[in-house]
C-alpha cells in the first residue's frame, strides 16, 4: 500500500483488518504517530492481542454518549490500548462491567457490525516480544 501511514491504516480498518506498520529494513514496529517515507512501511496483520494501558469513563449528556450496558446513563469508557506488537491506540472496551475494567487487563481486538474497532476482555495470553 503506497498511501501515507494514516490513510493506509484507515483503509485496512475499513476492510476490517487491524494491521501494524513495520519498517521493511528492520521489521521494527512503528507507532501510528510515526511518519516514515511510505516506501519503507510494510503493513503486517496484528494478532489482535492487547493490554489496557489506561482508560477513562466519560460522563456526557445522554444524547452525546454511546451508552453501554451496566454503565451510568450517558457514560461510556474510552480505552488507551497497547497492541502486543507495540503500537498504542484509542478504542473502547466492550463486554466488561465498569468495575471489571482494570489497567493491565488482557484484551482482544474485535470489529463491530458497524466496522468500529473495539476490544473485549481476553483470557491471559503470552506477550509477544
Amino acid at each position: 500500500m503506497n498511501a501515507d501511514l494514516p490513510s493506509a491504516f484507515l483503509a485496512y480498518i475499513a476492510a476490517r483488518e487491524l494491521r501494524v506498520p513495520r519498517l521493511r529494513s528492520s521489521g521494527q514496529c512503528l507507532s501510528y504517530a510515526s511518519r516514515p517515507p511510505v516506501g519503507e512501511i510494510e503493513w503486517t496483520p496484528a494478532s489482535g492481542h492487547a493490554r489496557l494501558v489506561s482508560y477513562t469513563v466519560l460522563h456526557g449528556r445522554a444524547s452525546d454518549a454511546a451508552t453501554q450496558p451496566g454503565a451510568a446513563p450517558g457514560a461510556y469508557n474510552v480505552a488507551w490500548v497497547e497492541l502486543a506488537e507495540g503500537p498504542r491506540l484509542v478504542s473502547t472496551v466492550h463486554g466488561a462491567a465498569p468495575g471489571q475494567i482494570q489497567i493491565g487487563m488482557p484484551l482482544q481486538a474485535r470489529f463491530e457490525d458497524d466496522g468500529r474497532l473495539v476490544f473485549v476482555p481476553a483470557a491471559p495470553h503470552k506477550e509477544t516480544a
Binding site: 494501558v53 489506561s54 482508560y55 474510552v78 478504542s91 489497567i103
Partner: protein
C-alpha cells in the same frame, strides 16, 4: 545559586474578569495592556514590542496583529503571535526577555485574552476539541474522546494506578487551592471544600471530576518586560527573571508503563534551574499551571519537589497549603482563582514577588512558574525573584 538578571517584569495588568460576556477577546486584550502600562507608569509610545497569545481553541484571528492599532502602538521592534498551547504565556515572557537582553527591543508587552464562557456558551462546550493521541487524524472522534479533560483523565488514571492511590487522591490539590482562594479577594471560587465535597462532585472523565478542572473565565492579562535597569526606575518593584526553560516531546507516550509518567516538564525544569544556578531546594513557592489537578501533581514531581508518586501525599500532608513549607498556587490557581491559560500563575507570581499579596503573602525569594499544555507535551518554566542578584 548564582544569577544576575538582565531583564525583569515591570508591569502587570488585567481586564475585568467575568463569567459573563463583557467584551470580545480583542477588546479585553487592549484593556489589559493599557492596565499594565498604567501599572508601571508608562504610556503606549513607551512600548516597542508586543507579543500576543490567544487560546488555541478560539477561532483563528481572535487576537490579530492589528491589536497594535487598538492599543495605539507604533514603530515596534518586536511583534508576533506566540502559540505553544499551555506553555504560550511563559514562552511570550521568554521571547520578550531574549529580545530585550539582545538589545532588539527595550519594552515589550505580552498579552493573553480569551472569552470561553457566557452568553449560553458552556466551558464544557468550548473545551471539547478532539484530543489526538493515536496519531491518526479523526480516529478518537468515533470513541468520543473529546476535550483535553479526556486525555488528562487517561494520564490521571494511570498515575493513580501506578502509585496505588485512592480515586480521591487528586482532590487534595483542589482543597489546597481553595484554602488559598479564600485569602484572595480576586478569586472566583472561594468557598472551602472538604474531601466529601470533592468525592460527590460530578465526574467528567474518571477519575477527573468537575472540581479537578480549571474554572474558565472571560478576561485578559498582560505583563511588560524591560531591562533590569529600566525596571528599577519604574513605578513598581521589578520582578527579575533568573531562569528560563522549555521542554517538548510530542511523541512521548501519554500514560506509559510505570516509570514513564514523567513529562517533558523535566526538560524545562533542568534548563530553568541551570540558568538560575538554582535547585528545587532554593524555591520558596510555586505557581503551577493546573488546567487539571493532575497537572500540579506531575509538576511537583517533574520540578523535583517530591519523588515519583509522592505528590498526592505531599499535598495531603498540607505542605502546599497555607502554613505549609512550599506554597503552591497562592491565589487559588486555575481551579479556584480562574483559568487564564497560564496568566493566572504568572500574575500571582508577580503579585507575590512584589509583596502585594496581602493575607496570602508568603516568602517570594525564588518563585517557580510553569506552563504545560497539549497532551502534557509542551512545557515552559520561569524562575522569578524580587532580587536582581541570586547568591
Amino acid at each position: 545559586m548564582a544569577s544576575l538578571s538582565r531583564f525583569a517584569i515591570a508591569g502587570l495588568g488585567r481586564s475585568a474578569l467575568s463569567r459573563d460576556l463583557i467584551g470580545t477577546a480583542r477588546q479585553l486584550a487592549a484593556a489589559a495592556v493599557r492596565d499594565a502600562l498604567a501599572d508601571c507608569g508608562l504610556a503606549a509610545q513607551d512600548l516597542d514590542g508586543l507579543l500576543i497569545n490567544q487560546s488555541s481553541i478560539a477561532a483563528a484571528g481572535t487576537l490579530p496583529l492589528q491589536l497594535i492599532d487598538d492599543i495605539g502602538l507604533e514603530d515596534l521592534h518586536l511583534l508576533s503571535i506566540v502559540e505553544c498551547k499551555g506553555a504560550s504565556v511563559l514562552a511570550m515572557v521568554q521571547q520578550a526577555g531574549l529580545a530585550v537582553a539582545a538589545g532588539m527591543a527595550s519594552c515589550v508587552a505580552c498579552v493573553f485574552a480569551d472569552t470561553p464562557v457566557g452568553g449560553g456558551q458552556r466551558g464544557s462546550d468550548t473545551f471539547s476539541n478532539e484530543a489526538p493521541l493515536t496519531g491518526i487524524e479523526g480516529w478518537e472522534g468515533q470513541y468520543g474522546l473529546r476535550g483535553p479533560v479526556a486525555s488528562y483523565a487517561l494520564a490521571a488514571q494511570r498515575y493513580l494506578h501506578d502509585n496505588a492511590l485512592a480515586a480521591d487522591a487528586l482532590g487534595h490539590h483542589a482543597l489546597a487551592c481553595r484554602r488559598w482562594a479564600a485569602l484572595n479577594p480576586s478569586a472566583f471560587l472561594r468557598d472551602p471544600l472538604t474531601l466529601e465535597d470533592y468525592r460527590s462532585s460530578r465526574p467528567i472523565a474518571e477519575p477527573l471530576r468537575l472540581l479537578d478542572c480549571a474554572y474558565p473565565v472571560n478576561g485578559a492579562a498582560a505583563i511588560i518586560v524591560t531591562t533590569a535597569e529600566r525596571a528599577a526606575d519604574l513605578r513598581r518593584p521589578p520582578v527579575h527573571v533568573h531562569g528560563m526553560g522549555q521542554g517538548h516531546a510530542t511523541l512521548k507516550r501519554l500514560a506509559g508503563p510505570a516509570g514513564e509518567n514523567a513529562t517533558a516538564g523535566v526538560l524545562a525544569a533542568a534548563r530553568a534551574y541551570a540558568m538560575a544556578g538554582a535547585s528545587p531546594a532554593d524555591v520558596t513557592q510555586c505557581q503551577l499551571y493546573d488546567a487539571f489537578s493532575i497537572c500540579a501533581l506531575l509538576a511537583l514531581e517533574g520540578y523535583g519537589f517530591c519523588g515519583e508518586g509522592e505528590a498526592a501525599g505531599f499535598i495531603a500532608d498540607g505542605h502546599t497549603s497555607p502554613g505549609g513549607r512550599l506554597p503552591v498556587n497562592t491565589g487559588g490557581g486555575h481551579l479556584a482563582e480562574g483559568y487564564l491559560q497560564g496568566m493566572t500563575p504568572l500574575a500571582e507570581a508577580v503579585v507575590q514577588a512584589r509583596g502585594d499579596a496581602g493575607e496570602r503573602q508568603r516568602r517570594a525569594d525564588l518563585i517557580l512558574v510553569n506552563g504545560s499544555g497539549g497532551r502534557l507535551e509542551f512545557h515552559a518554566a520561569l524562575l522569578l525573584s524580587p532580587h536582581r542578584s541570586l547568591a
